[in-house]
């Protein structure tokens, strides 16, 4: 007989193996697709590289650059050479930042990660709490207010919320800085954590305001379902208090699906951070993505595509993992199968 622990480790290993294989396949596909997309763009790489001086150089020099870069080769050969470099970890050099793509992504991602993690945790906790409250006290005034909040904000554009918050708190009240992630004109070593947090406050709030609505809506639906179940009726008949019911039944049943769903919402959080960073001039990965797209920095754009795909893939995989492995019903099923 296999012990339960080994079985669960074995299952996790199988899950990990399958996901790794999946990730490899997805990455191949994404690389190929984005290469084809960039390949067909109207932006001429030589022209984009030279920039404003493009008119001052002759045709021979252009062909020389094209030859040096291998632009005269057929697309398939170029793809294989590019993919070979990617596999070896060389993402190329960013044209607008003039440094290796990997280091640009690394620096920018740290900035974005702080923002996204704060918004992700904050919206998860607040959204879950609001959802539980509005689900348990369904049809009361408090639930109506939360519902209204969700109704209006679940489908509001995040960049609009960001602008409105910016107008109100930064321009009218002047409580928060207007843009950037650090105060201007201060060397990097002397910036305090408080200053960083002060700059992060509004971007994080705009991201959370939208995300909270989504989490709360889902949690509420689940909670209402649970509250109408037979075991809650039984718990009520036993004389359990509302607080006890929430603690012992509602929380346990709704927490894991909510966490799982929240993992799969990383895509939206990242999308939101791109827009929010644009509004606040926050120098994170999102802003770099937009700059790369507008100014035609192909290596950076491709690098960001690959990097963020892996990031989102992990979020989705974590969501799947939570669904299959941690759910007590799934664990129980396994126990039954062992007999």
């Amino acid at each position: 007989m296999i012990s339960r622990q080994t079985a669960s480790i074995r299952k996790s290993a199988a899950f990990l193996g399958e996901k790794t294989f999946r990730l490899a396949m997805v990455m191949c596909l994404v690389c190929a697709m984005s290469f084809v997309l960039v390949q067909n763009s109207p932006v001429d790489p030589v022209r984009a590289y030279i920039g404003a001086d493009a008119n001052q150089i002759g045709t021979e020099q252009r062909t020389l650059i094209a030859e040096r870069w291998g632009l005269d080769r057929p697309p398939a050969e170029r793809f294989i050479r590019w993919a070979g470099q990617i596999v070896r970890g060389n993402l190329g050099t960013s044209m607008i930042f003039n440094e290796p793509v990997a280091s640009v992504i690394g620096k920018r991602f740290i900035v974005s990660l702080g923002l996204m993690a704060a918004a992700w945790v904050l919206s998860g906790i607040l959204g879950f709490a609001l959802g539980i409250i509005s689900g348990v006290w369904h049809r009361r005034a408090v639930s109506k207010i939360i519902d209204l909040y969700c109704f209006v904000l679940a489908s509001a554009p995040v960049f609009w919320i960001a602008i409105i918050l910016l107008v109100f708190f930064s321009v009218m009240l002047q409580w928060t800085p207007v843009s950037g992630s650090t105060p201007p004109g201060i060397p990097a070593g002397e910036i305090t954590l408080a200053q960083r947090l002060h700059h992060m406050l509004l971007p994080c709030a705009s991201l959370s305001v939208i995300s909270i609505a989504g989490v709360a809506l889902h949690t509420k639906k689940k909670t209402v379902e649970i509250m109408q179940s037979d075991y809650i009726l039984y718990a009520r008949a036993r004389g359990e208090s509302a607080f006890g019911i929430v603690l012992r039944h509602v929380l346990r049943n709704s927490l894991l699906p909510a966490i799982s769903l929240h993992f799969s919402s990383l895509n939206e959080i990242f999308g939101g951070s791109v827009l929010v960073e644009q509004v606040f001039g926050y120098p994170g990965l999102g802003k770099a993505t937009v700059d790369a797209g507008i100014r035609g920095d192909v290596p950076l754009l491709l690098g960001i595509t690959i990097f963020t795909t892996i990031f989102i893939f992990f979020g989705n995989a974590a969501a799947d993992y939570l669904y299959t492995v941690i759910d007590p019903r799934m664990r129980h099923m396994e126990k039954i199968n062992e007999y």
């Binding site: 997309l37 067909n40 554009p157 107008v167 895509n267 509004v279 035609g296 960001i304 595509t305 989102i312």
Partner: protein, 279 residues
Amino acid sequence: MNIRLVSLPNPRQKSAASITACLILLCSLFILNAMIDETGLGTDLGRRYLAPGHGSILGTDWLGRDMFTRITKGLCMSFHIGIMSAIGSSLIAVIMGLAAAVFGKKVDAIVALLIDAFLSVPHIVLLILVSFTLGGGFKGIVIAVCVSHWSRLARIIRAEILQLKGSDYIMMSYRLGRSRRWIMAHHMLPHVSSQFLIGLILMFPHAILHAAGLSFLGFGMTPDRPCIGVLLSESMRHISTGYWWLALFPGAALVALVKIFDVIGENASRMLNPRTKQE
């Protein structure tokens, strides 16, 4: 004794009523759009920075253009982008979902991989990539949204059809000698049609918000053809000077438009879903 003379509307009637109300609102937008002429779009430097209510309903911008006109035209533009990309991406979703279910295991594996890949690339990055390739514009935005939004609906339809494939009546039809194509056309398509319709309507809010986001970031639309994203990105340059109405109203109008489709979608799904339709 308490006898009600007028019976209360049942949930189905309520749903029908809210859908009708939304459609009326939508129609009034188009009527409004047709009634307003283009003069408000032209610059009028004598009427710059008028606050809302002072000779203009929603105020004017820094070139004296009337915000009410711009928002109405912009909403219609956003609506067109939204409707075209929602239709496009749900068609892709249905074709992919059906292909996966009907053409055997190999096609199914490919479609599953495609769905996985498109779900893993962040929407916004894919949108930027595609509009970078197509050079922006109306067509660029519509195609970008189409390409990035089909995967979620395709996954739902594929799962639905896979489940359907094991059901008794499909097996029986197969045993009776019907071809796969016949079964697809006569049993599967009707089954997923309501799913498709709801998916289409609920896709609309996503499509319109992402299109607005994309044009806000500067990919696509030009300022002379106003669309909500462009209006908001222009307003960014003027908020530090206190012209709040340039930002507030376009966004609020967009939320209203999105909400209309949310409500239509929710009620339509309640009426079409076999589990809740008889309530």
